[in-house]
């Protein structure tokens, strides 16, 4: 077998590199090479994703078995070059060269796409030339064969480049046994004694390197047996026919935009309409568990903590899972098919006007479901400034937790018999949130020095292909798991704290009575002067405090404060109570002006504590989350005051 004898000899002659624990294999490759699929196939998707200490770059470390031996496999974000040009690239490259808690890899597995082999062998070549121990995995052989009518000879390529080359289909896992065998053969070979991190190459070196790589690949890749090589010398340059044909539509300046909007509309519709029944079911399930428990042990406050605090708190996390899973699945489909990068190209120009790029588009879009997965998705943005800018803007997007609040207030404002007014108002709110969020965020980002001076796009548009369900499901599962880990704990803790605020000191009365005697009520009464300028009273204040657990809690808290007995149909009695509620001086509490004020407050305010916790983790400091909490709440409040008084000035009560 390939070099196995030499590997054994080397092991005897030379001690392993000092810093290498000897059992670490690192995957390296350009973005879209299929690195993650290879990683999943090797580790059977059994891995943990960890933050690199002190940064937001995450890398995954999983384990694989090689006969008796256990090896660790490390996956870092795809890189184009070994010369870092940003903080994050620097971190990823440092991790590859041993500056991580996992040590120096004993072997680098370079993942290369067969349809663009010279480009993808560039990194492998640089590592081999610098004396590192390398194996090469070539993916997308199927696209090369079926769509371009060519095959590559991996034995020939291996002989030419001087390391094992294994063809593999990362998406089906085909070829992973051969890869494992090859890893076993060379893992102990060790790097050459003089192995050093490659230095910044000169333009001439790069050109010369690519000329050699092109010669090498044109010897290893040839037409299918029986087929004739095209005479124009462009066989390796062109793209496959199917991608080219589809892109005539997808990348058309006008049609492409129309198709893009249709796809986004479909995405949105499914997030909301597909998820709704499941969300209702989850909601009912947790409410039933909570009330059931209280009824079984009446008057026990520990049970109440469990039922109202813990169970309902868990429910608050679980209720958004259907939406988030659907979002992740559809994004997974679009990503795996290769469309997502095209969408990024289409919106790049408009995103640039607010200091972002097409790459921020997916996170911003996800922000309409929930800011938390959106912040997690923003990791895919390579530029740190742009990522921070995106995270800064995300809480201003109209997330689904705001919907129940708007739903209630818009229903209150909608005149009877004119349901279209409500629909129109909600649509206007979406447009308003998106515009003010992007424009306002860009101004704030500019003030914070986060705006890009010179931004680059340089985005690869991968070949279009039919997405594989298995791949989509695995990514969805991993992303959902990460969401639960991140948001779950935070939401649960906050739910319990708020339960304590709204239920202590201990008293045995009904729910509405408990809340009016609670610490939260005292806090609410204390903030009455703050509520006064927006024409509201302490009861709405308490509901607003409760909204800090999760925005939608505002609705149920308001019901409690207005003494609406909760039942299956909360909405109608609540609307009625809202129409009748008066302030201390006898004037109506909820008017067009005050409702508009609350809506405006919710548009800007960052209430979701779980978002803050995730933001702290994703940005690596408290700077941005604290800024968001203070500025967005003050902004929301200030604009609410302006709205209420402006409307009153115009004669709208």
């Amino acid at each position: 077998m390939y070099q196995s004898m030499r590997a054994a000899e080397d092991q005897l002659k030379r001690p392993r590199p000092r810093r290498s624990p000897g059992d670490l294999v690192a995957l390296i490759g350009m973005p879209n090479a299929g690195k993650t699929s290879v990683f999943n196939a090797l580790t059977h998707s059994n891995y943990q994703t960890v933050n690199y200490p002190g940064s937001t770059v995450d890398y995954s470390v999983g384990s694989m078995t090689l006969g008796e031996r256990k090896l660790r496999v490390m996956d870092v974000p795809g890189i184009t070059s070994l010369t870092p040009q940003s903080q994050d690239e620097n971190v990823a490259i440092q991790a590859l060269f041993g500056e991580s808690p996992h040590g120096l890899p004993a072997l680098y597995i370079c993942v290369a796409d067969a349809t663009q082999l010279d480009r993808h062998l560039y990194l492998a070549r640089r590592l081999i030339d610098s004396g590192f121990n390398v194996a090469i995995v070539v993916t997308m052989g199927d696209i090369l064969r079926h769509r371009k009518g060519m095959v590559f000879d991996h034995g020939k390529l291996g002989d030419e480049i001087g390391c094992p080359v294994i063809p593999m289909d990362g998406r089906t896992g085909e070829g992973s046994d051969a890869l494992k065998e090859a890893i076993g053969a060379v893992i102990d070979k060790g790097h050459s004694g003089s192995a050093e991190v490659p230095s910044r190459p000169s333009p001439d070196e790069i050109s010369a390197q690519y000329v050699r790589l092109r010669e090498l690949t044109s010897r290893a890749i040839g037409p299918l047996p029986g087929a004739k090589a095209p005479k124009d010398g462009l066989a390796l340059s062109g793209i496959d026919g199917l991608t080219a044909a589809l892109d005539r539509w997808f990348l058309h300046p006008v049609l492409g935009l129309v198709l893009f909007m249709l796809i986004m509309a479909a995405l949105f519709t499914s997030i909301f309409w597909l998820a709704q029944p499941v969300m209702d079911m989850v909601d009912r399930l947790f409410s039933a568990a909570s009330t059931g428990l209280i009824e079984a042990f009446p008057g026990n406050w520990v049970v109440r903590l469990l039922a109202d605090g813990v169970i309902l708190g868990t429910g608050a996390v679980a209720v958004f899972l259907p939406q988030i899973i659907i979002l992740f699945m559809i994004l997974g489909f679009l990503e795996d098919s290769g469309y997502l990068a095209r969408g990024a190209m289409i919106v790049d120009r408009s995103m640039r006007s607010v200091g972002l790029s097409g790459r921020s588009f997916v996170p911003i879009l996800s922000g309409f479901a929930c800011a938390i997965p959106a912040m997690m998705a923003s990791r895919a943005i390579p530029s740190r400034r742009e990522r921070l800018m995106t995270i800064l803007i995300l809480p201003l997007m109209l997330c689904s937790a705001r919907l129940p609040v708007y739903g209630l207030l818009v229903a209150f404002l909608t005149p009877p018999g004119k349901p279209w007014v409500g629909g129109l108002t909600l649509t206007a709110l979406y447009v308003f949130s998106a515009t003010t969020g992007l424009v306002g965020g860009s101004i704030v980002g500019g003030l914070m020095g986060l705006k890009q001076r010179r931004a680059t796009l340089l985005l690869e548009l991968p070949a279009l292909r039919r997405p594989k369900m298995k791949v989509v499901l695995i990514t969805t599962m991993h992303r959902t798991k990460a969401y639960i880990q991140k948001a779950g704990t935070a939401i649960l803790v906050i739910a319990v704290v708020l339960w304590a605020l709204t239920n202590l000191p201990v008293s045995d009365g009904a729910a509405a009575e408990r809340i009016t005697n609670s610490y939260a009520a005292k806090l609410g009464q204390w903030m009455e002067p703050v509520m006064e300028p927006i024409g509201l009273d302490w009861r709405v204040g308490v509901a607003l405090i409760c909204a800090f657990a999760a925005r939608e809690v505002f609705v149920s808290a308001l019901a409690l404060m207005l003494m609406v007995s909760s039942g299956d149909t909360l909405r109608e009695p609540l609307l009625l109570a809202m129409r009748e509620a008066t302030r201390a001086d006898g004037t109506k509490l909820f008017t067009v002006a005050t409702c508009a004020g609350i809506i405006i407050y919710f548009v800007f305010a960052l209430q979701c504590m779980a978002t803050l916790a995730v933001c702290r983790k994703e940005t690596g400091s408290w700077r941005i989350p604290v800024f968001q909490l203070v500025v967005y709440n003050l902004l929301g409040y200030g604009l609410a005051v302006v709205t209420v008084h402006g409307l009153r000035f115009l004669g709208v009560a």
Partner: protein
């Protein structure tokens, strides 16, 4: 050194192949473009454009890239010389 009169990628007709003669512009951007494979002598094709010609999609070394106008303008090209 930088010659404004040189033909850039954007001067190619859409669908037409050209040959890269060089990459000129900000140093780090040029390094990145070169490392991505935009090296002199390589064939390149202007494939598609978004509204207002920005960004553009180009075909190079078997794949497609979306480049902003400013990035595309760094890539100097000439009409493709026929190989054999």
């Amino acid at each position: 050194m930088s010659d404004k009169s040189k033909m850039t990628l954007l001067d190619l007709k859409r669908g037409e192949w050209g040959t890269i003669v060089g990459v000129e512009g900000e140093e780090n951007l040029c390094l990145r473009l070169l490392e991505m494979g935009f090296t002199p002598g390589e064939s390149i094709r202007y494939v598609a454009r978004a509204l207002f010609d920005d960004p553009v999609a180009v075909n190079l070394r078997g794949t497609l890239f979306a480049l902003r106008k400013g990035e595309a303008e760094c890539i100097k090209v000439c009409a493709r010389q026929k190989i054999n």
